[in-house]
Symmetry: D3
Subunit: 245 residues, 6 copies
C-alpha cells in the first residue's frame, strides 16, 4: 500500500526527522512518502497558522490521490485541513490527533493531553469535541516550554513533562497521556515507567492504524459531512457521490 504523510508546516528539518521515525516502523508492504508544503507557516501554533497552511497542503492531498496513494496522514497535532482534505478526495485521510485520542479513549477511563503553552489549551479542548470523545478527557495541560526551549534543554523538558504528567494522573485522574507535540516523543518511556501511565505518541500510532484501515478498505464516508464540494460536482471535476475521473 502507498501512504503519504504530510507535515502541514513547511519545516524541511522536522519533515526529515518525521521521515526517519516513520520509515523505521512502517509495515513491510507500505510504500511511505513523507513530505511538506513548499510554502506556508514554519510552525502551526494558531488557528491562523492552521488556515495559512492549507493552500500549500490541500494540493498535495489531491496529488496523492491522483498518484494512487491509498491514504494520507496529516501529521500535525491540530489536524489542520482534515475536513477539507476529506471533502476533496475519496481515499483515506486521517489526522494524528484524531487517531491518538480515539486510541487513548480505548486504553483507559480518562486521558490527558500535554501541550506546549497555556494559550493552546482551549483550542485542544475544542478539538476533543470535534472528535466526540470529550467524556474521556481528564485534562489538557501545558508544559510551559517552547519547542526551541525544549530542544535546547532536554533535561528540563524531561523534568517538566514528567511533572505535568504526574499532575494529570494525580489531580485529574488521567490513566493515559497523549503527547501533543512531536518533540515530546522521546520522553514517552520515562513517563510510562515512572508513573505507570500509558503514553500515546500520535504520529506513530496514526501510521500503524492507518495501515490497518487501508488493509480493511475503510475510508471516510462520502455521504454527508465529507461529500465533494458542490462546485466540484457542478464543474464536472467529480461525479456526485462518486470517484474522481
Amino acid at each position: 500500500m502507498k501512504i503519504m504523510v504530510i507535515n502541514p508546516n513547511s519545516s524541511k528539518h522536522m519533515t526529515h526527522h518525521l521521515d526517519e521515525v516513520l520509515q523505521a516502523i512502517k509495515g513491510p508492504d507500505t510504500e511511505l512518502t513523507v513530505c511538506c508544503p513548499e510554502n506556508g507557516p514554519m510552525a502551526i501554533e494558531s488557528a491562523y497558522d492552521e488556515a495559512m497552511c492549507l493552500p500549500g497542503l490541500l494540493p498535495l492531498v489531491q496529488q496523492a490521490e491522483k498518484d494512487g496513494y491509498d491514504a494520507v496522514i496529516l501529521a500535525c497535532f491540530s489536524d489542520p485541513g482534515l475536513e477539507q482534505a476529506r471533502e476533496l478526495v475519496n481515499i483515506l485521510v486521517c489526522g494524528i490527533q484524531e487517531v491518538a485520542v480515539h486510541v487513548a479513549a480505548m486504553m483507559g477511563a480518562k486521558f490527558s493531553i500535554l501541550t506546549l503553552n497555556a494559550e493552546r489549551v482551549p483550542s485542544k479542548e475544542k478539538d476533543i469535541y470535534r472528535y466526540k470523545v470529550e467524556r474521556g478527557l481528564a485534562s489538557v495541560r501545558p508544559i510551559g516550554l517552547s519547542v526551541a526551549e525544549s530542544d535546547e534543554n532536554p533535561d528540563l523538558a524531561r523534568a517538566k513533562i514528567k511533572a505535568v504528567a504526574k499532575t494529570c494522573a494525580e489531580q485529574d485522574g488521567a490513566e493515559v497521556v497523549v503527547l501533543g507535540c512531536a518533540g515530546m516523543a522521546g520522553y514517552a518511556e520515562d513517563v510510562k515507567k515512572e508513573l505507570g501511565l500509558e503514553v500515546i505518541d500520535p504520529s506513530s500510532v496514526a501510521l500503524k492504524v492507518v495501515e490497518a484501515l487501508v488493509a480493511c478498505g475503510i475510508k471516510p464516508s462520502k455521504r454527508g459531512l465529507y461529500a465533494y464540494p458542490p462546485s466540484f460536482v457542478r464543474e464536472g471535476k467529480v461525479k456526485k457521490g462518486g470517484c474522481c475521473g
Copy 2:
C-alpha cells in the same frame, strides 16, 4: 461607530444586495461598510470553500482594525474565519450564525435551522457544538433547492420553506427558525404569520447586536482561544496579550 461587514464570498452582486439591506437598518451613528474579497470562491458551500476564502478575507479584517473600525461582521452563515480573525485583531469580530443561534436559543425552548441542501446538515450540526447551544437545537433541515433554483422560482421557494418550517415545528418541536441562507430572508414574515414561529434572519440581527456590543465596549477575550498567534508576538507585530502598535 464604524462597522465593516465582510461577505466572505467574492460575489459583487450578493455584496451589493447585502449592503442595501443593512444600510437600511443600521443605527444613526453607525458608519457601515459592506465589502467582499477580490478573489476567492463565488459561493461558500463546503469546508474547502470556507478555507479558500480566508487568504482574501483575513487581510480585510486586519485592514479594518488599522482603519479604526470598531467591529467586523463575517456575513456568511458558516462563519468562515471567525477564530482566525479573532486571533489577528483586538476589535470585535462576530459571525452571523454565531449571533443568530444565540438569539434563537434565547427566544424559545428549541430552534431549527433551515439550510439549502442535505449534504450541509452535518456541517451545520457541528457548528452548533462550536457555539455550545446544541441543547437548544431541534433540527437542521434542508429545503432541497439550490440558490439558483430558489431565485428562479420564488413561489416554489416560498412553498418549500413553509413546508419545511412546519415540519421543524410539528415533528422536531422547534419554536424558532433560523434562516440559514441569505436568499430565504424574504419569506420570513410568511413563516411567522402562518406558523406562529419566531424567525431569525441572521445578517440583520447580527448587525444590530454588534452595534449593541460595540456600544458596551465588549470584544472577544484575548486571553486564551483568541490570543494573538505566537509568531506575531515573536516577530513583534503585536505585544503579547496587548494591542496592535
Copy 3:
C-alpha cells in the same frame, strides 16, 4: 422604541441608581422607564425571594404591554419571572443574566460568574442549564462579601473581585467574567486591564441587546414554552396563539 426595565426587588434606592446608569447609555430613539414593584422583597437572594417578587412584578409586565412598550427587561441577575412574563405578554421580555451569559459564551471559550456568597453557587449553576450554555461555563465563584460589606469597603471589594477573577482565569480557564451582582459593575475596568479578561456587566449589555432585538422585531416564540396560560385562553383574555385584544 419604548423599553421598561423592572428591578424585581422593591428597593427605590437601587432602582434610582439603575435608572441613572441606563439612561446614560440608552439609544437616542429609546424611551426608557426604570421601575420596581411597590411591595415585595428588598433584595432577591433566594428562590423564595424570587417567588415572592412575582405578585408585584408580573402586573408591571402586563401593564407595559398595554401601555405600548416594545420590551421589558428583568434587571436582577437571577431573572425572576422570566418564563411567567413571557407567557403573559406578546412583547419582548429578557432577563439580564440570560443576555449576559449568551454574550459571554460568544466572547471566549469559557466564562465564569462572580456571585456574592457561596450558598448561591448551585443556584447560578442551575440557571446556566436553563440557558443551555453550560458547556461554556468555567466556574461560578463567590467573592464572599455581602452587598452591605461591599458598599462600605470598596477597596476590600475591589481586591476580592480581582483575586477571585484571577482564580477563575488561572484555575478554571475562564477568558470572560460575568459580574453577577449590580454592585460589582464599578470594578469592571480594573479586572479587564490587570487580568486581560473580558468582563460583562449584565444590565448594560442587556439594555443594548434588547434595543437591537426590538429593532429587528424579534420576540420570544408563543408556540410552546411561552404560550399563553390556558386559563387566559379559556377566559377570552387572549386569542390562542394570538395577540392581546
Copy 4:
C-alpha cells in the same frame, strides 16, 4: 410519622379525591393530611399558575414543620414551589414528578411522560433537566385531551392514552411510562397489561417513597441549593445552617 400532602391548586374536589386514594395506601404508622391552599389557581397549567399558587402554598409548608410533620409532598406534576419549600424548612419536602422520574429512570433504559396538551411538552422537558435524568427520557408526548374532556369521555381517554403510550414504546423506545396527570391514574393497568410497559403513577409512588425516606431520616441538604434564605438568617428566624427555633 406525619406526612402532609399539599395539592398546589385550590380545587377542593381534586384534593378530596387525592385524599381518598392516598389514605388507602399509606403505611399503618403514617398520619396523613391532604390539603390545598385556600386561594390560588384552580388548575396548574402554566409557569404563571405555578408562581401564583406559591403565596398560598408556602405558608402551609411552614405550618407543617411547626406542627411537627416529618415530610411534605407537593402533589402536582410540575412540582411548583419545590425549591422554595426546601429553602424555608428543614424537614423532607418532595415533589411527585421528582420521585416519579427517578423511579422511572431505575425501572428501565428509557421512560416517557404522558402530558395533557402539546404546549406543556417543552416545560416537561425542562423539568427533566432540573432532575438530572434527561438521559433516561425517551419522550414527552401529549394525549391531546383537556382534563374536562378526559373526565367526560373515559373511553376516549383510555383509547388515547393507550395509543400514545404505544407510540412512546414503539417509536421512542420507552420501556416505562410516567402518567403526567392525576386523571390518568385509572388507566395504568390497561397500559401495563396490553403494552407490557411499566407504568408509574406519581402521587402513589411519591407517598410510599417519602415514607421510606422519613424512616431513614433523610432530608434535603441545607448546605447549598436549599440553604435558608439569607433574609431569614439576618432576621433571626433561623440559625444559619441550623434548625428552626
Copy 5:
C-alpha cells in the same frame, strides 16, 4: 411482603451483620431474608470479583422468585448482577448503589461518593453513568483505608471519613455524601452533624425504598433492556414478554 437481600460476596460475617441492621428497620409487614452465595469471592473489589460472584448469586435470585419473594436487593455497592438478575426474573430487583444515587440526586444539587481506595474511583464514575445521574455527581473520593484497616482503627476511619467528606463539600461542591462501603455506615451521624451534609447509607435506604416500590407494584420493565434472555424464550422456560410459568 417478602424481600430477599443478597450480599453478593460469600462472607457469612458481613451477611450476619447486614441481617441485624436491616431486620431492625424493616417494615412491620415485611418478611426479610438476608443471605449470600455459598461460594464466590469473599469481597467484591474489582470487575473480576463482580463477574465471579454471579454464578453463585443469580440462582439465588431465581429461587427467590420461585419462592414467592416480591423483591430482591443486591447489597454490594457495585450492584453486581443487576442487569442479569432483572433479565432472569419478573419481580423487583434493585441494587443499593442504584437506589442510593437516585435518592442522593434528589436531596441536593450535587452529591459525592466515598469509596475505599483510589483504584475504584473510575469504576464508580462509570456506574454513575449507568444510572444516568452523572450531572448530579460532585466527585468520587477515596478514604485510603482498606476494610481491615478501617475495622482495626475506628478513630482513624472516623477522622479520614470526615476529612474526605469535608473536601467533597468545600472543593467539589457536594451537598450530599453517599457512603460507598458498608463499614462507613457507623460514622454517618458525625458527618451530618459536623459538616451539615446530608448522608446516605445505601443498604438502609435501599430496603425502605424497595418496600415502597413493592407496595406500589412497581417492577423493572420487561420490554427492552431487561427482557428475558432469548434462550429462555426458545427453550420454553418463560413466555416471551410474559411471566414465569
Copy 6:
C-alpha cells in the same frame, strides 16, 4: 507478534468460520490463534449470557498472557469480559465493538449500528456510552431476523440489511454503518455500493487495529480502571501496579 482471538460463545462452528476469515487478512508477522471456551453459552444474546461465558473465557485470557501472546481480541459484538480481562492481565485486550465504534466515529459525522432483534437495542445504546462516543451515534436499528433465519434465507437477509441501512442513512443521518453481528459481514459490499455508506465489519477491523497497537507497544493503562484486582495483589499473584511474575 502473537494474537489470540477468543470467540466468547462455545460454538465450534462459528469459531472455525472466524478463524478462516481472520487468517486470510492477518499480517505476515502475526501468529494468530482463534479459539473459544470449552463450555458456556452457544450464543451471547443477553447480559446473562455475557456473564455466563466469563468463567470459561477469562482463564483463556490469562493463559494467553502466560503463553507469550501480545494481545487478545474478544470477538463478540457485546465485548463480554472486556473490563475483567484487562484487570487480569498486562497485555493488550480489545473488544471488537470497542474498536469498531471508535473507527466508525472517525469515518463520518454519525454512525448507526445494525443489530439482530429489537430487544438488544437498549443494550447496544448502553455500550456506546461505555465507549464514550455516544455523540457520534445516529441510531441502533434491528433487522428483525434471528441468526438462523438469516442463514437460511440469505436473500431475505440481504434485503433486510439494505432496507434498514437505508433508513439509518435517510432518517437518522448515518454516514457509516457498523454491522453488529458476524453473519452480516457478507453483505457489506452491497450496502457500500448501493447506499454510498461506509460499512464497518467489527472483527476484521479489530484484528488489523490490534496488530497496529501491538506494533506501537500500546496496552490498556494499569493505573485505574484496569488495575489488578486487589485480591491478586494481596495474594502475591501480581505486583501492585506491575507485571505478572
